[in-house]
C-alpha cells in the first residue's frame, strides 16, 4: 500500500470532497488508470487477437461505422484542445489535457482499424462516408468553442457527444468482431471519465448560475436532431435492430435529463 498524500484512507468514500476532486483530475490519476488497461495493446487491441472473417457487406458496414467514429473523435479532439484555453480553473485544464490525449488515441486506433480493413486512405474515406449530421454537429461544437462559451461547449462535447459515443460504443461492442470489440472496450473506459467530467462540471455550473440553463436548453434544441440522426444512421450501419435506436437514445438522454433538461 503506498504512503504519502495520495494514499487512500480506510475507505475511499471518506475522502474530503476537495481532495477527491484534486485526485481524480490529476495527471497521475489518469496516467495510472490508462496504464492499467492499455499496457500491452497495439493499436487498441491485443496483438494476438485473431481477425474474424467478414463478408464484403459486413466489411463495408464496419468501414462506414468506423468513419463516423473517426469523425466524432476528431470533433472531440479539436473541441477538447480548444477548450483548454477557456477552461475556468486548473483542474479543468489538466483534465482536458488528458482528454486530448485520449481523443488522439481514439482517432489513431480507429484509423488503424480502417487500414486493417483494407482502406488505403482512411482520412479521405471519413470525408466521403461521414454522417452529414455529424459534420454539422462538429461545426457547431467548434463554433461554441471559438465563441468561448464554456458551458455550452462543454454541454455539446462532454455531455451530448460523449454520451452518444458511450451508448453507441457499448451497443456495438456487444456484437462486434473480436478486434473491433477490444478497441471499443478500451475506448469505453476512457469515455467514462469524459462523460463524468462533463456532467459534473456542468452540474456545478448550473447550481452556481441557474440563469445559464435557458441558454444551454437552446443549444440542446439545436443539437438534439443532429445527434439523434447520427445515432439512427450509425445503428443502421452497425446492423443492430431498430429497437436499439430507441434504447441507445434513452441512454443518451439519461445524462441530459439528470441535468434537468428534457
Amino acid at each position: 500500500m503506498p504512503t504519502g498524500p495520495t494514499a487512500p484512507p480506510g475507505d475511499i468514500h471518506d475522502l474530503d470532497p476537495q481532495a477527491f476532486l484534486e485526485e481524480v483530475h490529476s495527471f497521475d490519476f489518469w496516467f495510472e488508470a490508462v496504464q492499467g488497461y492499455l499496457s500491452g495493446l497495439t493499436h487498441g487491441h491485443r496483438p494476438n487477437t485473431t481477425e474474424a472473417a467478414l463478408s464484403e457487406a459486413e466489411r463495408e458496414r464496419l468501414i462506414s461505422v468506423l468513419c463516423n467514429y473517426c469523425l466524432g473523435e476528431t470533433a472531440a479532439l479539436e473541441g477538447a484542445s480548444g477548450l483548454i484555453v477557456i477552461a475556468p480553473n486548473r483542474l479543468a485544464k489538466i483534465f482536458l489535457s488528458t482528454q486530448v490525449a485520449d481523443e488522439g488515441r481514439h482517432l489513431d486506433v480507429f484509423l488503424h482499424r480502417l487500414r486493417d480493413l483494407g482502406v488505403g486512405d482512411p482520412e479521405a474515406e471519413v470525408q466521403r462516408r461521414g454522417s452529414r449530421s455529424l459534420f454539422l454537429f462538429k461545426r457547431r461544437l467548434l463554433e461554441l468553442v471559438a465563441g468561448k462559451d464554456w458551458e455550452a461547449a462543454i454541454f455539446a462535447q462532454n455531455v451530448v457527444l460523449e454520451a452518444l459515443e458511450f451508448a453507441v460504443f457499448h451497443g456495438h461492442a456487444q456484437d462486434a468482431d473480436p478486434v473491433t470489440k477490444e478497441v471499443l472496450q478500451g475506448v469505453i473506459k476512457d469515455e467514462r471519465r469524459h462523460i463524468g467530467f462533463g456532467e459534473n462540471e456542468l452540474g456545478r455550473r448550473l447550481a452556481d448560475a441557474p440563469h445559464i440553463r435557458a441558454r444551454i436548453g437552446q443549444v440542446k434544441k439545436e443539437l438534439d436532431h443532429l445527434i439523434l440522426d447520427t445515432l439512427e444512421e450509425t445503428v443502421g450501419h452497425i446492423g443492430l435492430p431498430r429497437s436499439d435506436v430507441e434504447r441507445l437514445g434513452r441512454a443518451y438522454l439519461e445524462s441530459v435529463e439528470r441535468l434537468g433538461f428534457v
Binding site: 503506498p2 495520495t6 481524480v24 492499467g36 462523460i195
Partner: protein, 99 residues
C-alpha cells in the same frame, strides 16, 4: 400498547453497520490502490451487496468497506462523480449525483 418513548427508541436506534473486506475484482480503470472499491456490473443476473450501489453516470458498481445507508456519500472515481445514497421507490439503494 407500546410505551411511546420505548417505541421511539426502537425506531431511532440503528443496528451497527456490517463491515466488508474488499478484494480486487479485476477492475482496471482506476489506479491499483483504488481498484477494490469498484467492479463491473455483470448484467441482469448480477446482484448488489449491501455495501454496493451502481453509479448512474457510468454504470460501474461502487463498493464500500461499510454497509451503505441512505444519506451516505460515495465517490465514483472512474467517472469522477460524487454521489449520495438514497432508497429508491422499489426499496433498493440507489446513488444520485451530487453536483
Amino acid at each position: 400498547m407500546l410505551d411511546p418513548e420505548e417505541g421511539d427508541e426502537e425506531n431511532t436506534v440503528e443496528a451497527p453497520r456490517r463491515r466488508f473486506i474488499l478484494d480486487d475484482t479485476g477492475f482496471d480503470e482506476v489506479p491499483k490502490r483504488y481498484r477494490r472499491f469498484y467492479r463491473k456490473w455483470e448484467g441482469p443476473g448480477d446482484r448488489l451487496a449491501p455495501n454496493e450501489v451502481i453509479c448512474p453516470v457510468c454504470k460501474v458498481v461502487i463498493r464500500s468497506t461499510r454497509e451503505l445507508r441512505p444519506g451516505d456519500r460515495v465517490y465514483c472515481m472512474p467517472c469522477m462523480s460524487r454521489l449520495v445514497v438514497v432508497r429508491g421507490e422499489t426499496g433498493v439503494l440507489e446513488a444520485h449525483v451530487s453536483y
